[in-house]
């Protein structure tokens, strides 16, 4: 069964450093998403991506964030200069016919 794969599973980075979170979505999905979940809080939508461009983004998704799909398979989320409050689980998801398929998440810890 196809699945969404995220790497790394856990990343520790120093404040101010750039991080790139990677996702390989299911090949026939067209919509992709990044969600964030700060520990103990609800899941928050960051951005949706369709046809190689951002289709919608939330207020959280400021200039520090960017997404791209450079090679048609990997879907990346970049945080340019990490802050302590960026520490969270980041989930990639692809939209199937009815439900979203989630990766296992990347736990980002900013120290």
């Amino acid at each position: 069964e196809p699945e969404v794969t995220q790497t790394p599973s856990h990343q520790v980075t120093q404040m101010g450093q750039e991080v790139i979170l990677r996702c390989v979505p299911i090949s026939n999905h067209l919509y992709f998403y990044w969600y964030r979940q700060i520990l103990g809080q609800k899941v928050e939508f960051l951005v949706s991506f369709y046809n190689n461009e951002i289709s919608e983004k939330s207020e959280i998704f400021d200039d520090q964030f960017s997404v791209e799909r450079p090679d048609g398979s990997n879907f990346t989320l970049k945080i340019r200069s990490t802050k302590l409050e960026d520490s969270a689980m980041y989930f990639c998801a692809g939209q199937g016919l009815t439900e979203a398929f989630f990766g296992q998440g990347t736990r980002l810890t900013v120290v």
Binding site: S48, E56, A100, F102
Partner: protein
């Protein structure tokens, strides 16, 4: 804007008993999907069950079933014969069925389910 509310931060149930998790939502749309996701300690997001708003019949998946009340905008999850492996955070989520929302999920705050052996 759509909202999803889970009013129970935590629920506990004895193993083998039945438990119901509550979820209410607010929307002006008539066509949408509702989901329950399970998040175990590994923090992976696992789909438990899905309900299409146009279907009157409540969805069921083995020990999991929903009580979907469209007029009341209520979508509760019933877990029968609770097992230790059911212990997790459970999230209720809403998704529009129309394109304009880009199909993003709107999430509730989650309910932590504790199973007592």
């Amino acid at each position: 804007a759509q909202t999803v509310t889970q009013s129970q931060p935590e629920m506990s149930v004895q193993e083998a008993e039945t438990v119901t998790l509550s979820c209410t939502y607010d929307t002006s749309e008539s066509d949408y999907y509702l989901f329950w996701y399970k998040q175990p300690p590994s923090r992976q997001m696992i789909l438990v069950i899905r309900q299409e708003a146009y279907k009157q019949q409540n969805a069921t998946e083995n020990r999991f079933s929903v009580n979907f009340q469209k007029a009341a905008k209520s979508f509760s999850l019933k877990i029968s014969d609770s097992q230790l492996g059911d212990a997790a955070m459970y999230f209720c989520a809403y998704r529009s069925a129309t394109y304009h929302s880009n199909y993003q999920l709107i999430w509730g705050a989650g309910t932590k389910l504790i199973i007592k052996p």
